[in-house]
């Protein structure tokens, strides 16, 4: 189905699309998904895709990216390609459980749902809803509130497939789970995948997500990922965004943490068109610790907007946010970091830092902290900078024989390093450092660039 959307009637067109396909959607999906659809679409109809008058979307015209006449499917198209031809993992020593999504649908390079020997379950969301409805009933749509964000509502209205990861109680994981989201299509495409990661008490998950576009079409992704981190459980999540500049991405992640849990959520953005990343964190049990990090490198007309919302709902929790951006040419960016400390969340520690480098006078960055603190015994701090490379450091490097260009690269690499050094998997960290260096040198083409080292196809 290919419809030209009009900005004025965008919302009703998307709502109509739902009603036209509702029966087919319902018939194809499990009741867990279906039970939320009507209310989600009702919320969507009321809110509509946000424009800049929405305080949370002040710096990004999300409606604009919907206007391409995308094809939208409510069942997967057959996209034939050979995984072996496309991929060769070149992270040395990184032996991963690989899950592929192609255009938002689980790709059957492995069983649709697999139970590993230690009880870990990995595979397709649609299949998980069929085989393990009780897990989905307990977690699906519990953390991503569609009443508050139209993009989440739209995703919930149409959700059918995505990645499902389940780590049972007390299970640690020997292999990193690597999710690769591939966009590959002979036509412009709108994609909405829905993902769920459940880490039960005392368990641990290490997840790497790579987003790639492998054909030169316009893409729009509106994805939602819910992550439950149980008591004393641990999450290490690294998201690498590396799509071409006609690929726009709206990504909403919800991290729900129970007592004494620990989570690192790190988003590295190398390439893409318009990117909006929402990361919501709820610290729901005492003693939980969260690190939400981000690094983006933008040039040309790219736009990268990061929005974070950390909800301190329990006492004695710690949150540290650290976001950095390097903007070249005419790139624009935004950071909005919201921290909510609820009245009984005493002994909260909440930190937020946003530092940015503008390499040209045309690049623009907006940064906005929003702190709402209702408890009195807390430590909260925030700081933001937008500046240029340090001239004194540049000169110091030059006096040691390092040319200006090389000196700039060293300083930019060093700037990004603070975020990258928190990637917990060493081979991946090395690889990311290398990718960021290449990206800064302008040597990174849009396709042959992921940890999987895709062969050139576009």
């Amino acid at each position: 189905m290919n419809v030209l959307l009009d900005k004025k009637i965008l919302d009703s067109q998307l709502t109509d699309w739902y009603f036209t396909n509702r029966d087919q959607l319902m018939a194809a999906s499990n009741s867990v998904f279906n039970s939320f659809r009507p209310e989600a679409m009702e919320c969507f109809r009321k809110m509509g895709i946000p424009d800049k008058s929405n305080e949370n979307y002040k710096y990004t015209d999300v409606r604009e990216v919907f206007l391409t006449p995308f094809n939208r499917y409510i069942e997967p198209r057959k996209i034939l390609f050979s995984v072996e031809d496309l991929f060769r993992c070149d992270i040395p020593e990184l032996d991963t459980e690989l899950v592929l999504l192609v255009n938002g649908w689980f790709y059957e390079n492995r069983p649709r749902l697999e139970v590993l020997p230690n009880g870990i379950i990995i595979g397709s969301m649609a299949e998980a809803a069929r085989q393990y409805p009780h897990i989905l009933e307990a977690h699906y749509s519990r953390y991503a509130d569609f009443r508050k964000d139209a993009l989440v509502a739209l995703n919930t209205g149409f959700a059918q497939d995505g990645t499902f990861i389940y780590i049972p109680k007390g299970v640690g994981q020997d292999r990193t789970i690597q999710v690769v989201n591939i966009l590959l299509s002979p036509e412009d495409l709108f994609v909405q995948h829905r993902n769920l990661v459940v880490i039960e008490d005392n368990a641990m998950a290490r997840v790497v997500v790579c987003d790639h576009s492998l054909s030169a079409h316009h893409f729009l992704t509106n994805s939602v990922t819910e992550i439950f981190v149980g008591q004393n459980a641990r999450l290490d999540y690294t998201k690498l965004q590396n799509e071409h500049n006609s690929s726009n991405q709206l990504s909403s992640s919800f991290v729900h943490q129970e007592k004494d849990s620990h989570a690192i959520f790190n988003t590295i953005t190398l390439h893409g068109g318009m990117i909006r990343n929402n990361v919501y964190t709820r610290l729901n049990g005492p003693g939980a610790e969260n690190h939400t990090l981000g690094l983006f490198l933008a040039d040309r007309n790219q736009h990268v907007d990061s929005y974070t919302y950390v909800d301190h709902a329990a006492p004695g929790c710690t949150s540290r946010q650290n976001f950095k951006g390097i903007l070249d040419e005419k790139a624009t960016g935004a950071f909005t970091g919201r921290i909510l400390v609820r009245p009984d969340a005493q002994k909260t520690l909440a930190y937020q830092a946003n530092n940015n480098i503008l390499l040209t006078s045309e690049a623009r960055m907006n940064t906005k902290p929003q702190l709402e603190i209702y408890a009195d015994d807390v430590k909260c701090s925030h700081g933001a900078t937008v500046g240029q490379l340090d001239e004194n450091a540049m000169f110091y490097l030059q006096t040691r024989g390092i040319a200006k260009r090389e000196a700039r690269l060293l300083l930019m690499g060093a700037f990004g390093h603070e975020i990258l050094k928190q990637v917990p998997v060493e081979p991946l960290r090395d690889r990311l450092n290398d990718l960021v260096d290449k990206r800064l040198k302008g040597e990174l083409s849009r396709c042959n660039s992921c940890p999987l080292q895709c062969q050139e196809t576009c």
Partner: protein, 248 residues
Amino acid sequence: MLEIRNLKASIDGKEILKGINLTVNAGEVHAIMGPNGSGKSTLAAVLAGREVFEVTGGEVTYCGQDLLSMAPEIRAREGIFLGFQYPVEIPGVSMVNFMRTAVNEKRKYLGQPEMGAADFLKLMRDRKALVDLDTSLANRSVNEGFSGGEKKRNEIFQMAMLEPKLAILDETDSGLDIDALKTVANGVNRLKNKENAVIVITHYQRLLDYIVPDFVHVLFDGRIVRSGDKRLAFELEEKGYDWIREAN
């Protein structure tokens, strides 16, 4: 080696150097002394190529070439080294990465092959020992969290790595206790030979007990107002800078 003729430089329209003349030959140690604000650090910065200073007159010839037309990094690769009064902290750039880049950029420029990892690490070890620089410092980011003394020793360490023909040490003695001062001076002395030269910029005579100069120059109000041998330094120490002020 270095021939400075009537060098004038200004910043934001204010003239700091008002006609400097100085000749430095291979094998020589020159000390430049003078009161605060006389232009000592400006002279060092101009020779190293700092762009905020505008050269408004004169010329500088270095090894037969026009120094002022060279970019700072070319000057460095040609063998000029500036030891900073205030070494810059560069978080995120490791000392190893920094020095490897610097050494190899110079080698590339001179048409030499890049230094292999093993040879490079051996060189690092040797030169660290020269200035008593702690091994753990070399694994940290450039100057980040270094004490004042460590920063100065790190400057001499870098000098030892890069083996300059002409080293300009800008108040390397400031902020050092006597032990650190000896270590730094000892490093400089061991690097000294007949082929290279050193310009030591200092406020006090103290350093010159350890790095013995062949020539001492007094800089005052942007000009060299007196030159002599090391006895001039003692005279200055005795009479103070007022002696110079009154004479000019």
